[in-house]
């Protein structure tokens, strides 16, 4: 008997309200979402649907107004140190080198400087950035900057990797390249990170990457669909099956 994969994160009936000048506004309503160990989940939804808010609740930066979030079966409290986030705008400090930027994420987690350096080096290598250690962000293209963002998140060796529109500030070709490399890293089973929740507003990106697509409708954000993508990887954008999934997600979003 094969054991059931562990449920890494379990978002249980979560709602989020914000107090705005016009009064209390419900941004997310009754969200239910689970990610199993090893799963690549993509949340797709229009701008303002509450995607970033949902990710921030998953890492503990934002507290739900109702419902709860369980991490490996236990209710979460405060920032979840077993998650790491990759941001749309890279989140790099311009006065630090690539190596220093990656090490920065480890300051609270790895005490000895040597071990921190070693760990940073390892993940700089994983994302293909060997040779860039002493470069500054200003010297790098967008694609290389986001590899630094990814290395910094991976270096934490998180159980759950959260990615908030990580390719949307890149040009189209660089984003194609980085999506492929992300899949390479994710499917490398030696890697510590195998559970990913990624947010996007691009349907093709969701169909290309996801094991499962969670569709978020807006105002208030509710789950409008949950689709398992049964296409072997690498996926071809002109494959009729690929296009069927794109249509299905599109119709659920509309």
């Amino acid at each position: 008997m094969t054991p059931q994969p562990e449920i890494i994160i379990d978002v249980e009936n979560v709602s989020k309200k914000f107090l705005l000048p016009q009064g209390e506004v419900t941004i997310l309503e009754d969200i239910q979402l689970q990610a199993q160990e090893g799963e690549f989940i993509v949340i797709v939804g229009p701008s303002g649907a509450g995607k970033s808010t949902l990710l921030r609740m998953m890492n503990g930066l934002v507290i739900p107004s109702a419902g709860r979030i369980l991490f490996r079966g236990k209710p979460t409290r405060g920032i979840n140190m077993e998650t790491a986030m990759v941001f749309q705008n890279f989140g790099l400090l311009p006065w630090l080198t690539v190596l220093q930027n990656v090490e920065l994420g480890l300051e609270n987690r790895v005490k000895e400087l040597d071990r921190r350096r070693e760990r940073a080096q390892k993940y700089i290598g994983k994302v293909g950035l060997d040779g860039y250690e002493e470069a500054y962000p200003r010297e790098l293209s967008g694609g290389m900057k986001q590899r630094v963002g990814l290395a910094r998140a991976l270096a934490v060796e998180p159980t759950l990797l959260l990615m908030d529109e990580p390719f949307s500030s890149l040009d189209v070709l660089s984003s194609i390249n980085l999506r492929n490399e992300l899949l390479d890293i994710w499917s490398d089973r030696d890697n510590v990170v195998n559970t990913v929740v990624l947010v996007t507003h691009i349907i093709e990106e969701a169909v290309e990457l996801a094991d499962r697509i969670v569709i978020l409708g807006s105002r208030p954000g509710r789950i409008a669909g949950n689709i398992r993508v049964n296409i072997p990887r690498p996926r071809q954008k002109r494959d009729p099956l690929f296009l069927e999934y794109v249509d299905e997600v599109f119709s659920l979003l509309a």
Partner: protein
């Protein structure tokens, strides 16, 4: 798009763009009309041509009459792991005259390093009709990626990465 030989400059485009181009090409069957490619990627034609030219300089693609076509080396790069890909590009850069000449120049220097200024002069010498700063940028980024050259922007030192 016809070019005679590869003694020319290297277009200053991102490595990720060039790698993205070959992945995309591979996912649409290895061959595409250049106009159509620009269209389906919503890219400006000029920008598309620049990336194609960089990919062509690296022998990743070929451009027979209005089309862009994957070379066997390009297919190999697409299939390679992140790590192997860097090694393949390393090998390929050694074949490009501009890189060869810069490498020979560094080999002669003390500590296999030189100031940015010296490298700029060398580039101007090799490619008198090109913008040396631009070429320097391209050499630094491809050189770093392939771990062939390194560059420290604080001290403006360029060096052989070995």
């Amino acid at each position: 798009m016809k070019r005679k030989e590869a003694t020319s400059s290297l277009p200053d485009v991102g490595i990720s763009q060039v790698l993205g181009l070959v992945s995309h090409l591979s996912s649409v069957g290895g061959k595409e009309d250049i106009y159509r490619l620009a269209g389906e990627l919503s890219m400006e034609l000029g920008e598309t041509l620049k990336v194609i030219r960089a990919a062509e300089t690296l022998k990743l693609v070929n451009t027979p009459g209005g089309e862009v076509e994957m070379e066997p080396f390009g297919a190999k790069v697409v299939d390679a792991s992140i790590h192997e890909r860097k090694e393949l590009i390393f090998e390929q850069l050694q074949q490009i005259p501009l890189f060869k000449k810069i490498r020979e120049f560094l080999d002669e220097e003390d500590g296999h390093e030189a100031s940015k200024e010296m490298v700029l002069e060398k580039i101007a010498d090799i490619l008198p009709n090109e913008d040396a700063e631009h070429q320097f940028g391209a050499i630094v980024s491809w050189g770093r990626y392939a771990e062939l050259f390194g560059y420290n922007d604080d001290s403006e030192t360029f060096y052989l990465d070995q």
